[in-house]
């Protein structure tokens, strides 16, 4: 047995994050941890990696009890971790990120050439292509993840933890990753894999352990279970994996984008002359491989990124292309950013404060010149209940909520504003099945009352499942618009890859 964790318990103020958890991982195996948001998966892994100390329980590696006080001790015994939030220094190069904490062959001086050489060897052996001399901030998410894996391999990790490694990857990148991971188990390494995507779990796992509320609620194998069963084990009730989408007749166009041109972070054009309409009572989904201008499109519509002079963004017949976010919101725009923690919510603010982030100045939440705390509390209590946000209280800072619950807070806020037009980016990234189901049902309910929704997601199943029309985006343009009845996964996949009319 490579790893045994026995009776692990960990308490945080107000939360029992791990409650007597047992976990066993064998060499050459992929062991999946499955659980709702906040179930305690990351906490358990942080204990393994020495970032937290357990309150009770013990850890054995190859039968020997270990006490891991810090990450470097974990690394020394061959444990590697790819964190849910990357642990990279963006201003350093790949080689420097890998070299951190290692002994240099040149004494006090860095020996980046040697490190780069090894990186190249490892990336060749494992199919992880990266350029060691590039600074991390210049890299796309998928590349950054490869750096994280290289970091672990460089240190010769025999047990590698991957905390939601696929949340930010495109389907193609996920496939590539799985090939790499399989190669690693073939070498005899043990892997702990965390994901909310059941098809991935079914495809990759050897063993599956399910957590709920900090405790183990089940243990199984893919061959002995199904996606539906897994979902039920996690959530404790049956879950609809594909949303019901009753037919509604679309109304008038509410969001009309004409000739939109937007620059990306690196100053080059990311959106080039894009045209698109979204009507009331309709969800238009954008399908596309990440990096084809989706993010820039969403931010330009939200008013967070400048649209070039000739662009038009009509919001209910008003051209808002040069207006600020506040005015666009006043005109009925709702916006859910893909960057949950940085753009969507304020970590230090409480749940109820985040729920009024947009509306705090409205009559509803003010009395004269002052905030109306009674109304604000009421709003908080109502929305927390309605959207089933798991939080100790409405006064808890959102930073201590799990990812899925933060997303629910944001959606609760944006949806209750009853937007006329809504831009939603990656609504269920990193969100557990149960919550995702709920979020999907809310988006559809909103559509049913006439909201025009522009949905941006890298999860193709989500796009196909939710959208009335699917717009395929490639290199900053819409290359095809497909009604949902005609949507075929493979065809869309080809279009996303830039293969037209074949």
């Amino acid at each position: 047995m490579l790893l045994e964790m026995k009776g692990i318990t960990k308490r945080f103020p107000g939360v029992l994050a791990n409650d007597g958890i047992d976990l066993e991982v064998e060499e050459g195996q992929v062991h999946t941890l499955l659980g709702e948001n906040g179930a305690g998966k990351s906490t358990l892994m942080k204990i393994l990696f020495g970032l937290y100390q357990q309150d009770e329980g013990e850890v054995l590696l190859r039968g020997k009890p270990l006490s891991i006080g810090s990450p470097s001790e974990a690394i020394d015994v061959g444990i590697g971790m790819v964190h849910q939030h990357f642990m990279l220094v963006p201003t350093l190069t790949v080689a420097e990120n890998v070299a951190l904490g290692l002994k240099s062959g040149r004494g006090a001086l860095t020996d980046l050439d040697a490190v780069s050489k090894r990186i190249n060897e490892i990336s060749e052996a494992h199919g992880l292509s990266v350029d060691p001399s590039v600074e991390v901030w210049r890299m796309a998410v998928g590349e950054r993840q490869r750096v994280e894996i290289i970091k672990a391999l460089y240190r010769d990790a025999t047990l590698l933890v991957l905390d939601e490694p696929t949340a930010v990857l495109t389907p193609q990148e996920v496939d590539d990753l799985f090939v790499i991971l399989r190669r690693m188990t073939d070498e005899g390494r043990g892997l702990i894999f965390i994901s909310h995507k059941l098809h991935e779990v079914m495809a990759l796992s050897d063993e599956i352990t399910v957590l709920r509320n900090g405790a183990v609620t089940g243990h199984t194998r893919p061959s002995e279970t199904s996606r539906e069963q897994l979902a039920e084990m996690m959530v404790g009730r049956s879950v609809k994996l594909v949303p019901d989408r009753p037919h509604v007749t679309a109304g008038e166009p509410r969001l009309v984008i004409k000739n939109l041109e937007v620059k990306g972070d690196r100053g080059t054009m990311a959106v080039e002359g894009l045209n698109l309409d979204v009507c009331g009572g309709e969800i238009v989904g954008i399908a596309g491989v990440s990096g084809n201008g989706q993010k820039e499109l969403a931010e330009a519509v939200a008013g967070l990124r400048r649209a070039e002079g000739s662009s038009h963004i009509m919001l209910n017949d008003v051209d808002v292309a040069q207006l600020d976010t506040r005015k666009r919101r006043d005109l009925g725009l709702g916006y859910v950013s893909e960057e949950r923690m940085t753009d969507g919510a304020i970590g230090e603010f409480s749940v109820s404060e985040n729920l009024i982030l947009v509306d705090h100045g409205s009559e509803k939440f003010t009395k004269g010149k002052f905030l109306d705390f009674k109304a604000i509390r009421e709003q908080g209590e109502t929305l927390v209940k309605k959207f089933a946000v798991k939080t100790p209280s409405i006064d808890t800072p959102v930073s201590s909520l799990s990812g899925g619950n933060i997303q629910k807070v944001i959606l609760a806020r944006e949806l209750t504003a009853k937007p006329s037009v809504m831009v939603v980016a990656q609504p269920t990234r990193g969100v557990d099945i149960g919550s995702a189901e709920y979020i999907h049902s809310q988006l559809i309910a909103q559509r049913d009352v006439g909201t025009a929704t522009l949905l941006i997601s890298e999860d193709l199943d989500e796009v196909i499942g939710l959208s009335d029309r699917i717009a395929v985006m490639f290199e900053g343009e819409i290359v095809a618009i497909i009604p949902s009845e005609e949507a075929e996964r493979d065809k869309i996949g080809l279009l996303m890859a830039g293969v037209f009319d074949s």
Binding site: L304, G347, S350, F370
Partner: protein, 380 residues
């Protein structure tokens, strides 16, 4: 229990700091006991001295409250000195221009002029930060230098007392300003003037603004996460400018109070800003941080530092030790008290862990901790 702990640790740290002070006194050949008693009696020993301490605390309260607002918006304001001077200069100019307005009007007018002056001096680095990405630490420090020279220029040029020109002495000071602008004293025969009350009200207003109004909500939102604030529709640039302008306006108000609450009722320069401000622009930062960046806590914090400053004058007089001792002691107090925060939070963690243990068996309802969480969110 925790509250008690929270309050007692910094006081303990202050005591340790005074112990260091005592060692220095012994080294200087003075009696440490006499030193400490004369320090204490100099600060709080009589009605007059308490009045002097409160007067000394006044600019600290104002600057401290202003600093709290800026820091809460994640804007570092090291420009207190310059902002005090700006407020003082503008209010002085107004008092020179309209000396005959009745007192009931002129006092508020010059106070507002102070606010405006400080606001301008704050808004400049604020706007530079918001719209031109000029780091505010740099620009506020530079603006202190600029305001200093501007003060020297005005006081020895355009604003100089005509009598000084006539006499040929050219002391860089304004003429004695209109008595109609003088802040009325609260207790006749004492130095306690209306400025103290104004400062207290301003601190309460700053607190209410930060935690009770939409504007404060937005400022704190911008302070915690400009990106999230922006995507919620808050105009980040504008609010950064506001934060520094409001912060500066309180400094400016302090400047006006320094002028119109002074015994000399005029502005004088000795060529440094400290000569006019008594370094309130810097000490106000200490006061604010000491008060946990909470405008209301800056009040006791300011009284403590005000007392230290007035007490030091007495100490120097009574024991004939250099005044520099008080400045050094001030620094030691700050160092010990900030260091003690860690000790406090450690102890609090221990206490918390114990009470946690009792709660957590229940599962998810940490009712006892909600209050402390609110408190933390409000204080942190």
């Amino acid at each position: 229990m925790k509250k008690l702990l929270g309050a007692s640790i910094p006081l303990l740290a202050a005591l340790v700091a005074f112990f260091f002070g005592a060692i220095m006194l012994v080294a200087l050949g003075a009696s440490p006991w006499e030193g400490l008693t004369s320090l204490a009696s100099g600060a709080f020993g009589s009605g007059d001295r308490i009045a002097a301490t409160l007067v000394k605390a006044t600019p600290l309260i104002l600057v401290g409250a202003g600093i709290s607002i800026a820091f809460r918006t994640s804007v570092v304001n090291i420009g207190g000195e310059g902002q005090i001077v700006a407020g003082a200069l503008l209010s002085t100019m107004v008092a020179l221009a309209i000396p005959d307005v009745p007192r009931i009007l002129l006092v508020p007018i010059v106070m507002v002029a102070g606010l405006v002056g400080g606001a301008i001096a704050g808004a400049i680095p604020g706007a530079l930060k918001a719209y031109a990405s000029v780091n505010e630490i740099l620009s506020t420090i530079m603006l202190n230098i600029i305001m200093l020279q501007f003060m020297n220029f005005l006081l020895r040029g355009p604003l100089i007392d005509p009598l000084e020109v006539e006499a040929g002495t050219r002391i860089p000071q304004t003429a004695r300003l209109s008595d109609n602008a003088a802040l009325p004293t609260l207790v006749s025969g004492s130095r306690l003037h209306l400025g103290v009350v104004i400062a207290l009200l301003a601190a309460v207003a700053a607190w209410a603004m930060l935690w009770r109004t939409p504007l404060g909500f937005r400022l704190r939102a911008v302070g915690h996460s400009p990106a999230a604030a922006r995507s919620a529709g808050i105009k980040v640039e504008r609010h950064i400018t506001y934060a520094l302008a409001i912060s500066g306006s309180l400094g400016g108000l302090a400047g006006a109070i320094l002028v119109f609450g002074s015994e000399s009722q005029r502005m004088v320069t000795d060529g440094s800003t400290a000569g006019f401000t008594g370094s309130a622009g810097f000490n106000g930062i200490v006061t604010a941080l000491f008060g946990g960046l909470h405008p209301l806590w800056t009040i006791p914090s300011a009284v403590l530092f005000g007392g230290l400053l007035t007490g030091a004058t007495n100490l120097q007089r009574a024991l004939q030790v250099p005044a520099a001792l008080a400045v050094a002691l001030n620094g030691i107090v700050v160092i010990f008290v900030v260091s003690s925060n860690r000790v406090r939070s450690r102890l609090e963690e221990l206490l918390q862990a114990r009470s946690e243990f009792k709660n957590s068996s229940g599962g998810d309802g940490p009712s006892a901790d909600v209050d402390s969480l609110i408190e933390e969110v409000e204080h942190a």
